[in-house]
Symmetry: C2
Subunit: 358 residues, 2 copies
Amino acid sequence: MNEPAELSPRQKEILAILVHEYITTATPVGSNTIRDAGRMSVSSATIRNELMSLEDAGFIIQPHTSAGRIPTLLGYRLFVEQLMGNVKLPDYEQRTIEHQFYQMGTDIDQWMKLTAAVLARAVDTASFVTPPVAGESRFRHIELISVSESAILLVMVLQDGSIHQEMLATTNSISQDVLSRASNRLNALFEDLDINEIRRFQWPEGFAPQDWEEQVIRHIIDRMSNVNSTAVGRIYHDGLVNVLKQPEFLDIDRFQHVLEIVERRGVLESVLTSILRANGVQVIIGGTGRFGSIDDLSLVLTPYGVQGLASGVLGVMGPTRMPYARAVSTVRYVSGIMSGIVAGLYGDRPQNDAHSAS
Amino acid sequence: MNEPAELSPRQKEILAILVHEYITTATPVGSNTIRDAGRMSVSSATIRNELMSLEDAGFIIQPHTSAGRIPTLLGYRLFVEQLMGNVKLPDYEQRTIEHQFYQMGTDIDQWMKLTAAVLARAVDTASFVTPPVAGESRFRHIELISVSESAILLVMVLQDGSIHQEMLATTNSISQDVLSRASNRLNALFEDLDINEIRRFQWPEGFAPQDWEEQVIRHIIDRMSNVNSTAVGRIYHDGLVNVLKQPEFLDIDRFQHVLEIVERRGVLESVLTSILRANGVQVIIGGTGRFGSIDDLSLVLTPYGVQGLASGVLGVMGPTRMPYARAVSTVRYVSGIMSGIVAGLYGDRPQNDAHSAS
DNA sequence: TACTAGCACTCTGTTATCGAGACTGCTAAC
DNA sequence: GTTAGCAGTCTCGATAACAGAGTGCTAGTA
């Protein structure tokens, strides 16, 4: 990293070939391989010289003397930002993917599973999808259902279409009639309110609420604030096997980290949440400070949906040695499809409003 | 397997020690180890003789000449069925587990996650939990909500408390008022009907249903039959890392199978479903024909809940070399807690009915 | 000055060999 | 029926030897 100077075009070309080659073969790349792969009209010796400068500049590294070079995180980053080139998904791939969405049912759960599966297969990595939720959820509807003498099922629907269910235990039996009346009352009172407005809620003068009614309200508030803080809902994932198959995870310990990230959810949630407010496809390469624990992993993520109305996150995760071009183009394309679906379901106001108003 | 004859008490004792030892050390067990471990008053040579008969009988095997013995599937089975001994969870372990359930919220999703986590930690294996569902679900309640001009959110609650949500696209906008009236009508018509009764449903004479109304009914039927056929709902799992840590999975390929089983869900679903109708804790050791693909894995599973009202499955999965005693006792204990919770929530009629009626 | 041919050098990964250690199965004696 | 003793077998780890890949450097060329 002695030189912050610009790389020469030839150096860039060499780096591009090197990264590409390393991504496909997973073995350190030597000067001969580079000469043969690209149709460069220079000798391997010249390439070796350039490799030395690239190593000095911190873009590549030798695992040991007399091995080929492999990209550093910095090298990958340069590759993704400048060298990767055409990132449009080929037409036939587009059609393959689109085709898989055709048979999609109306069930949100299935939809998420399908998307995760499609992504994982298309990029040959692990994949994540979170369902679309509204940034700040407003109350839409509540339903109280008596499931037994001592329990009420509370079903709450928020404006983003997300659904929340809880069981409340009661001391005495409450009839479905009473419950229905109560839910109607709450629906009228709370419709379209946000969490803060509901927090300020007071019972009307002279009205003496039952214990269970207070309990219901408390649950509504708890749940809504919970929703707003976690931001991303359930995380669907698929294709962990694809990651396991990569040679970098021949060493079990490495993969153990991956599994822990996925199973513990903590880190993952915060990363996905941060993407929610981003713009376009984000490529996170290796342990970039912020997300300390992900070290030899890269993420290609994007938000999807309709800004401010309902959005989720989707993307893929693989080793840093990951097919970035394919990943970015696939993720972008799938996100387009998903945004279309969301817009269709929730009404595609944002664009159209501006259009018809002008 | 020459002798179907009974094993002598001493042979059983030796087998018990051997299995126990192998479970804890994960290395083939030799005659000396057995002499030292159990306080047997015979020499290692005698034990060697007995080991030979046990090997003849198919309960143990040598990985190679001059290694210790390890149990075969048959050996494990005998161990679990006859030799395992006391399978009651120690009091302090009970308290640890119970304690973790105290802080449980009312959210079903959280509840399942918690249970999976508790199981995984307590047995140090992977764990599975499915939410409680009724064997044959009856219709309980439907709610139609307009989320945009072109989409309706359909929320259906079944008698077991399970909730199903779908998005329906419509060609023209339908007001929430109309939708509410429609849902009220359907609620009155369908309450407590099962799938077959709903299938036979006809619109009243002279009533001309809208397109979307027919669509709604179709979806209700589709969904209910779907629910009945899959039987187990979502499968929650945790603790895959614990399995990965076991020495038998130092070889990546082995673990790949495990991951595939969990990610593809097919096999798993059918196994769990079959457990749903079983009685008490079931131990599935290795590839027992039925579940071909699970070979070096064992499962300890049990149904929980209230028979005929709402039940689910929970249990653990680990290598065949698994702490069966601990697994069985833990699974049994947790299932007891869960059944209690379910009974509390759904009303513990079965027992009490019989009681009060007599 | 920019490139290249050639070569000595370094490091890995594989294979072969060897010896220590762990258990066994067998024999013969108790 | 049990046991001590022992030869035989197999694994595992360490060590050495070697082929292969790729480098950095030097000296020569356009």
